[in-house]
């Protein structure tokens, strides 16, 4: 029995809104040609992207040059590398009037609420003030619907001046996020001294804490992906 060669060709052709794949199999003098057309490919891709992710990173720091903000931006860049669409929200972007007078139907508040509601995962960061989360973060969360984090994995993060306040994350931030029905992950507590404000691209200067942050971030991504796959 002689060995006959089987020829296969595979020709994808991508257009704006469709992809055509032509497969040709040739054996001896006979050939089989198949054409597969994926229509409306663009909207499929967009839909896929929308479902794909949307991580909201919420910063509760009122400070203009904030260490917790820097770390959250850094986390955002790591998540983008993982292919997520990341949206940063800072309480500094929310009008003071809305927060101070409790205007829960202010468009800015509604926008924050819908962004968080649509998110597949949320990172919430706050500096430690008086052994607790910042008042202004609480002022914002007070205005959001009570189930705004329903079914959402949440990674809490806090930065503080002293190691003594590590448990503020357990006793103040996590219960608050749990009340909003978020699914808390372990979280990360960083010391101010572990963050270098001059290194914007990589502000965490201590390797041990950087490893811990990456590990927690890995758990967060894993949880978000697991939930996403369960939904699809």
């Amino acid at each position: 029995m002689t060995h006959e060669k089987v020829m296969k060709t595979f020709e994808p052709e991508q257009k704006d809104d469709s992809v055509t794949i032509t497969i040709t199999i040739t054996k001896g003098g006979i050939y089989l040609k198949m054409k597969i057309v994926l229509e409306d490919f663009q909207s499929y891709k967009q839909e896929r992207m929308r479902v794909m992710s949307e991580i909201v990173i919420l910063s509760g720091s009122p400070s203009e040059s904030s260490r917790s903000d820097l770390v959250l931006k850094y986390i955002g860049s790591l998540l983008k590398k993982e292919g997520f669409i990341v949206t940063h929200i800072s309480i500094r972007d929310v009008p003071h009037e809305a927060l101070f007078y409790g205007k829960f139907n202010d468009p800015a508040i509604e926008n924050v609420a819908s962004l968080i509601q649509g998110a597949k995962g949320v990172v919430v960061g706050s500096p430690v003030y008086k052994a607790a989360y910042s008042g202004v973060l609480k002022a914002l969360l007070d205005l959001l619907p009570q189930d705004v984090l329903q079914g959402t994995p949440v990674l809490p993060l806090m930065t503080g001046g002293s190691p003594s306040h590590l448990l503020a994350i357990e006793y103040t931030l996590k219960p608050l996020l749990a009340t909003l029905k978020g699914q808390n992950l372990k979280g990360v507590y960083l010391l101010d001294s572990q963050i270098d404000k001059r290194q914007i691209d990589n502000p965490i200067v201590q390797n041990e804490i950087l490893d811990r942050l990456k590990k927690q971030l890995y758990y967060f991504v894993e949880t978000v992906n697991r939930q996403k796959n369960a939904v699809l």
Binding site: A131, S162, P163, S164, H165, L166, L167, A168, E170, Y171
Partner: protein
């Protein structure tokens, strides 16, 4: 005035025992009429609280309950395990009658490996004092490994603060004299399924 110190650690020569003992000594030296007793949970063979009437426990358990009931003020120390009070010490709070600390003054001490669990006093120990309607003195002491050398407390600042804690417990008790007890709480009837 009788001040009872409780060391909530079961470890031999623990950081908790050392710090409570120190604070208790300072309290005793601060005024002539202060009598103290240090209860080391390691020395007591305690039953686990099973919900029975506290007056029906026997042996070491009864002794411990009686000592706490008779105390005018307390200095309570706990090692911090998993970010919270030790189980052995929580069992003591479970055993004692609900009104046994009412209006009494408590000073809290906690010990750990690092400063990380400092807030456990605020969030785990103080709520217990709240339940028992006790007065907690302002300012707690948290001591960790670096404050000790060769099984001795060597950190001067911690020693000073233990002195302040001990003396404040005495001052607080002198001023309040168990007269400020606050609003009465609804009583919780003890009811076992066996009784019904």
């Amino acid at each position: 005035m009788k001040i009872v110190g409780i060391s909530g650690s079961l470890t031999p020569r623990s950081k908790t025992f050392i710090t409570v003992e120190k604070a208790l000594n300072f309290a005793e030296k601060s005024e002539h009429n202060v009598e103290t007793e240090l209860i080391n949970l390691r020395d007591y063979h305690l039953q686990f609280c099973d919900g029975r009437d506290p007056s029906t426990y026997e042996g070491d358990t009864k002794q411990l309950i009686d000592k706490i009931v008779e105390a005018d003020a307390l200095i309570v120390g706990s090692p911090i395990y998993r970010g919270s009070i030790s189980g052995a010490l929580k069992n003591v709070f479970d055993l004692i009658p609900n009104d046994s600390l009412r209006g009494k003054v408590i000073g809290f001490i906690a010990t750990g490996g690092t400063y990380h669990h400092y807030l456990a006093i605020e969030h785990q120990l103080k709520p217990l004092a709240g339940y028992f309607k006790a007065h907690v003195i302002p300012g707690n002491v948290y001591a960790h490994n670096q404050h000790f050398e060769n099984k001795q407390l060597v950190d001067k600042e911690i020693i000073t603060r233990l002195k302040e804690l001990g003396e404040t417990v005495v001052t607080f008790h002198d001023r309040l004299n168990r007269e400020a007890v606050g609003a009465h709480q609804p009583s919780i009837p003890r009811k076992s399924l066996l009784d019904s």
